[in-house]
Symmetry: C2
Subunit: 359 residues, 2 copies
């Protein structure tokens, strides 16, 4: 067993303490400056406020000004910070990293790297590693159908740990796997992280199908959702391959599995439902901003679309081979009409005749 420090005490970071603590590791949970009230509660022996559920008793809690103590002699650091803050928080962690340590990450999404290029989060971490640590630290990325609170509850769960060094993924699996928290491993970080980011984007489309009954006399549109689901997974496959990844994670837990879960409920679906009910995207986004709700799928559609466009320019994706993402971008960023757009997109996507692919 090992000393493991989780950086970020939000929903996923705190839930991740459950399997690793159950496994007998020495677990420390560090709260960012935004997590002070969470750490207050936890230090007082109360439930985690976001989960309204207790964390394992053996976990030790640290305020943001106790980073050195939280990281003292630690073997594994797990980043559980929102995608926009991941880089700056990781910069605070870097001085404490030593050769041989593992860095895990449960954060998902895209961001701009230091040169202004759109990248997946593994690049955000890697570019912040000083030369003394290059090749000395392995990164492991976590994805798959995994609601944080269900991990805390001990619900049977399967996730994927991805690392370019599969031995590192296997090592973290050994530390984290329990009777109910199951882990598979892959060396395909690109495809895993692409799915982790894009499933939120496509889920907004699935949500629209759930919202259509509100503008169509109560008539369900489950057929439409089933079609969109199929085409979303297909496009994640095209996207992953263009970035140098494989279909393994797309057709595994990070892609198909997590899209299924994400389509069941949550903020991405709610945004889609609002548009499906007849609001323009501008109206739907304004409404969510009023209520201080951030939706990961919204920026993911833009990042994903722009990245796809640049891959098209480089000749890595055939032109117009990802109509669904293009259509979602038009709906979300150009206020294209949700219902009419989705109707056309289903037709466009069907024309690609994916059921006859020879695989």
């Amino acid at each position: 067993m090992a000393k493991i420090t989780v950086i970020g005490a939000g929903a996923m970071g705190s839930a991740f303490t459950k399997p690793i603590a159950d496994n007998g590791n020495d677990v420390r949970l560090w709260g960012s400056p935004l997590d002070n009230s969470i750490i207050d509660s936890l230090k007082a022996g109360k439930n985690h406020p976001k989960h309204n559920y207790p964390l394992p008793k053996s976990v030790k809690f640290f305020y943001h000004n106790e980073l050195a103590e939280a990281l003292k002699d630690t073997d594994v650091v797990v980043m559980a910070i929102t995608s926009d803050a991941l880089g700056t928080v990781f910069e605070q962690v870097v001085p404490y990293l030593k050769p041989g340590m593992l860095v895990g990450s449960v954060t998902k999404g895209f961001n701009y790297d230091k040169s202004g290029k759109i990248v997946l989060l593994p690049n955000i971490l890697a570019e912040r590693l000083p030369s003394r640590l290059k090749q000395q630290i392995d990164f492991v990325f976590v994805a798959g159908p995994c609601k944080a609170i269900e991990v805390l509850w001990g619900v049977p769960t399967s996730v994927t740990y991805a690392s370019t060094n599969i031995k590192a993924a296997v090592k973290l699996r050994t530390l984290a796997e329990t009777e109910v928290y199951n882990i598979d491993t892959t060396d395909d970080v690109t495809s895993t992280e692409l799915c982790a980011a894009m499933k939120n984007a496509y889920c907004v489309g699935l949500g629209m199908a759930e919202g259509f009954p509100q503008q169509k006399g109560g008539f369900l549109h489950k057929n439409t959702k089933g079609a969109l689901f199929t085409y979303a997974v297909t496009e994640m496959g095209i996207f992953a391959k263009a970035l140098g990844g494989t279909l393994g994670p797309v057709l595994g837990l990070p892609g198909m599995g997590d899209l299924e879960l994400t389509g069941e409920a949550g903020r991405n679906r709610t945004l889609g439902e609002a548009i499906g009910s007849g609001l323009s995207a501008s109206q739907a986004i304004a409404k969510m901003k009023e209520n201080d709700i951030t939706v990961e799928g919204y920026p993911a559609i833009k990042f994903g679309y722009l990245l796809m466009k640049s891959l098209e320019k480089e000749g890595k994706i055939p032109s117009a081979s990802m109509p669904l993402l293009s259509g979602l971008y038009d709906i979300l960023y150009n206020d294209a009409a949700g219902y009419e757009s989705i109707k056309k997109l289903v037709k466009l996507c069907t024309a690609a005749n994916i059921s006859n692919r020879k695989m």
Copy 2:
């Protein structure tokens, strides 16, 4: 345009009249002896009783003793009969078939062929074709995420038409495709029909995850459902390949797409939920029989399991490579405990490490 006779006036057969009538075909709907009251309603200009929604005005309706009139000069026959009655009803149709006619089928499932072997429905039709018609009639099979009533409502839908002669599938597509009813085509009948049958079986497993909160203090098990969904599609792929099919339909509308839809609601899911809530399978089945509810997934689990076992014996499937289907069989036919079984199955399935497949 063509003369098209739909055989069977149940939910799917009657809904199928919508796109073909909208497309200007001469459409006849024949009711089986069980459909008399449906034909009564339709002839009287009333709604279809199962859909509580009107059929297109141009459709002509025929009682079971009017088969000759229904099939007079017809170009296309579409079988829409329950899987257990498909063979005997098709035998009544055969005398009217002429070389060059198309036979479509929206029926899904397994059955025993005349030699007692478990087969998919294409075999049930093919073995009833007299020698004068062999190679003279093309069959086209319909699958994909498609609730009948939503087709009737005109909801955007995508389905797959499969035929060993792809030109036949394309021909039927030309007759049936509309602005909202979209069709892709494949020559992989085996994989398409395997998915059409097995998605009902696996959906019973997804339903269990929906039922678990009832025996686990209200705690949702969406993580479990997402994992089961992924492993179900994976096993359909193993199964399809063992039967000589490809992954195209599995990762297209008939497999992934229809499993997503089927997992949203319906009888297969309801049976799973009852077991997930804590009933034994025997209790859950007895309860559904009391209410005269038949569940396609229940026999599909048995047919699928037995077929898988015989493929194992023939060396076409590696032993123990489909743990989820085996586990579902144990739960449904040996009253294995639902929760503990699924917990173990998620672990077993995760160990296959599918996210690292190189595809």
